[in-house]
């Protein structure tokens, strides 16, 4: 096109004296077509530069490669959603990176042959007598048991530049790391730890291994979460269930024993404190009453010493007075004139035969 342009330029400046109308018309036509070409070129230049505008969607980021080199370092190189501009093709190149908040990778390398549809509908293939290594995956535990285990890994991309420009298929690499982590961790754990005793520990160890591997491989991702599911081989499901039952039974027995233990110990503790408390209070009462007696004795002693018989009589009479107010039945039995003893018959039936009354017979 540039050649054409030059050519026309010269063509226009050369014919100074247009003589015949034919060539004049030609010149007119050329002039107007040249104007059209100019406009087209202008439009093309505008199109060329405006082609530099591009849009980044909400689920993606973009990186501008200027002569093949990313513009900006690390996170700064990433363009977020919105409208952006770059130089057109030979200078800049825009690479869009699909990036969802969280990526998910599944590892079924340790699971028997099944599909999600079969699993949902419960129409899985029945378990054969053994496991065909070509079809059914499994892991070998530290005590050389076979178990099925699978994992779901949630991660997000931390360094998209590494993730996209350094790995042909980074998500496959993550998947491989997860497969490896499952096998490696299963090889370190005993079967009962994986299945029942230390399920969380196993899961953490798998996550740790994946994290280590992906860091070593510098995948530029951050592991959010790793969920692991493990089951015994379907062929041995009943016998594993029996172990679970036996373990539950045992726990029940032990729980019962422990509750018995608690009860017995609480009871004996209560009994013991009752015994000691009673002893304490008996002691206190005994000591207090004796102390009070001693004090009373000390108070009375001078009075008694001044006239022992009078004191005795007075005290006795006073006491009798008090005592008799409490006594319910009082029977006065004067002496017979002839001095012979009287005979008295009592019917004591108000209370069980406990003759509390002190009969003072003359």
């Amino acid at each position: 096109m540039s050649d054409e342009h030059d050519h026309h330029d010269h063509g226009l400046s050369a014919p100074v004296t247009p003589e015949d109308s034919g060539s004049q018309a030609l010149a007119e036509a050329l002039r107007s077509s040249f104007a059209i070409v100019k406009i087209v070129m202008l439009l093309m230049v505008i199109a060329f530069f405006s082609s530099g505008f591009f849009q980044v969607g909400p689920q993606e980021k973009a990186v501008i490669l200027r002569f093949g080199r990313p513009v900006g370092d690390g996170q700064k190189a990433l363009l977020t959603s919105g409208l952006h501009w770059s130089f057109p093709y030979p200078i800049d190149e825009v690479v869009k990176i699909p990036i969802t908040e969280q990526q998910i990778v599944l590892s079924t390398v340790g699971w028997y042959f099944t599909t999600p549809e079969q699993e949902l509908s419960g129409e899985e293939m029945p378990a054969g007598p053994s496991l065909n290594p070509a079809v059914d995956g499994y892991a070998i535990t530290a005590d050389r048991n076979i178990i099925h285990t699978r994992a779901t890994l949630y991660y997000h991309i931390d360094d998209p530049i590494r993730f996209v420009f350094d790995f042909e298929s980074a998500s496959n690499t993550v998947q491989n790391a997860l497969d490896n982590a499952l096998l490696y961790t299963a090889a370190r754990f005993n079967v009962d730890d994986i299945l029942t005793r230390d399920v969380a520990g196993f899961q953490d160890a798998v996550q740790q291994r994946v994290t280590d591997l992906t860091e070593q491989e510098q995948l530029g991702i951050v592991i959010d979460q790793c969920e692991v599911q493990s089951i015994p081989p379907r062929q041995l499901q009943t016998v594993f269930a029996q172990v679970t039952d036996a373990r539950e039974n045992r726990n029940k027995l032990l729980n019962d024993a422990h509750s018995y233990e608690n009860q017995v110990l609480l009871q004996s503790g209560a009994e013991a404190s009752t015994i000691t408390n009673e002893a304490e209070s008996a002691r206190a009462r005994y000591v207090d009453s004796l102390t009070a007696e001693a004090k009373r004795f000390s108070d009375l002693l001078p009075k008694y010493e001044s006239n022992p018989s009078l004191f005795a009589q007075l005290t006795l009479v006073q006491t009798m007075g008090q005592v008799l107010t409490n006594v319910q039945d009082k029977i006065f039995l004067p002496q017979r004139a002839d001095g012979k003893p009287r005979e008295l018959r009592l019917m004591l039936n108000r209370e069980p035969p406990q003759p509390k009354a002190g009969a003072q017979t003359p």
């Binding site: 342009h5 093949g68 290594p133 370190r188 041995l236 027995l253």
Partner: protein, 303 residues
């Protein structure tokens, strides 16, 4: 003239652009490139950027993906040192690190050919390394005996060594085992063993459960009896202390034993007549001795 200058400028720019297209090429961040002069590799470009070259047919540029690529070998059998048959599958992260070496090796940089070579190298490295280790080094609860990482490393080093001696321009970034398996018949034997292990476990759980429960109960009974016995002993001690303390008051009473005796009897009398009781007495009992000299109309005195 002005028009001519403009024309010349535009023309020059266009020529420059055209020349740049002929003489300059770019290497992207994800690529490595090799420049050949009449088919002979001369320059190796690993950094991204724009580079100069002579136009075709003098120089030619071949670009390769330098990103780490995944390769997985077939799930294949090998004998361990035990010897047991073990099926393994290994994944390899490999990349073209030296395009100049890579390019002539594989018929103009054919990646499929490279993978075929990688596979054969991997196969021999794997069987050599696995043959040196017993199964107990693949799976073991004891971290010191577990050689999982070491085995992976050994395979990786063997593969890398073979690749460098062949000068393939390929580097191994990482290598790991991604699948382990046993032949079908062995798996069945493992199932038989697992079943018997489970059964042993079941009977052990039953037996030890009962025994332990019994032990807990009897221990509880013993402890309870001990607690009560201790409390009894404490109670006796406390009472004894009380008596010892009370004995300190004895000298007070010794000042006049007669009075003490009298007072004790008085208080005994008070206590014994505290309840509902019936008292029969004659006129000699104080204070009823007051009645003694009163005239009575008892029948005994009447006649």
């Amino acid at each position: 003239m002005k028009r001519n200058v403009l024309t010349v400028v535009i023309g020059t720019v266009l020529i420059v652009i055209f020349a740049l297209l002929l003489f300059v090429f770019q290497v992207r961040r994800s690529e490595v490139a090799v420049v050949t002069t009449f088919g002979k590799p001369v320059r190796n470009l690993t950094e991204p950027g724009a580079y100069f070259k002579w136009p075709w047919p003098i120089q030619k540029v071949y670009k390769f993906d330098q990103r780490t690529q995944n390769f997985e070998d077939k799930f294949s059998e090998n004998l361990t040192a035990d010897p047991l048959t073990l099926l393994t599958s290994v994944y390899v992260g490999w990349r073209i690190s030296d395009a100049k070496a890579f390019f002539p090796k594989f018929a103009g940089g054919n990646e499929a050919a490279a993978q075929r070579m990688l596979e054969s190298i991997l196969r021999s490295a794997k069987s050599a390394v696995i043959g040196k280790h017993p199964l107990s080094e693949f799976v073991n609860a004891n971290p010191e005996d577990l050689k999982f990482d070491a085995i992976e490393n050994e395979i990786k080093q063997k593969v890398q060594a073979r690749l460098s001696t062949n000068d393939c321009g390929i580097s191994i970034e990482f290598l790991g085992i991604k699948k382990l398996g046993l032949p079908e018949s062995v798996a069945q034997a493992v199932f038989t063993r697992m079943t018997s292990e489970r059964q042993v476990l079941i009977s052990k759980l039953q037996y030890t459960g009962e025994a332990e429960a019994q032990e807990i109960r009897s221990a509880a009974d013993r402890q309870a009896a001990e607690t009560v016995a201790n409390a009894d002993a404490d109670a006796t001690r406390i009472r004894g202390e009380g008596e010892a303390e009370a004995a300190k008051t004895l000298p007070v009473f010794q000042q006049n034993p007669e009075l003490a005796n009298f007072l004790l009897r008085i208080s005994a009398l008070q206590q014994s007549l505290n309840q509902r009781s019936t008292l029969i007495f004659d006129e000699r009992t104080p204070p009823f001795d007051l009645f003694q000299h009163l005239p009575t109309n008892s029948p005994s005195q009447q006649p």
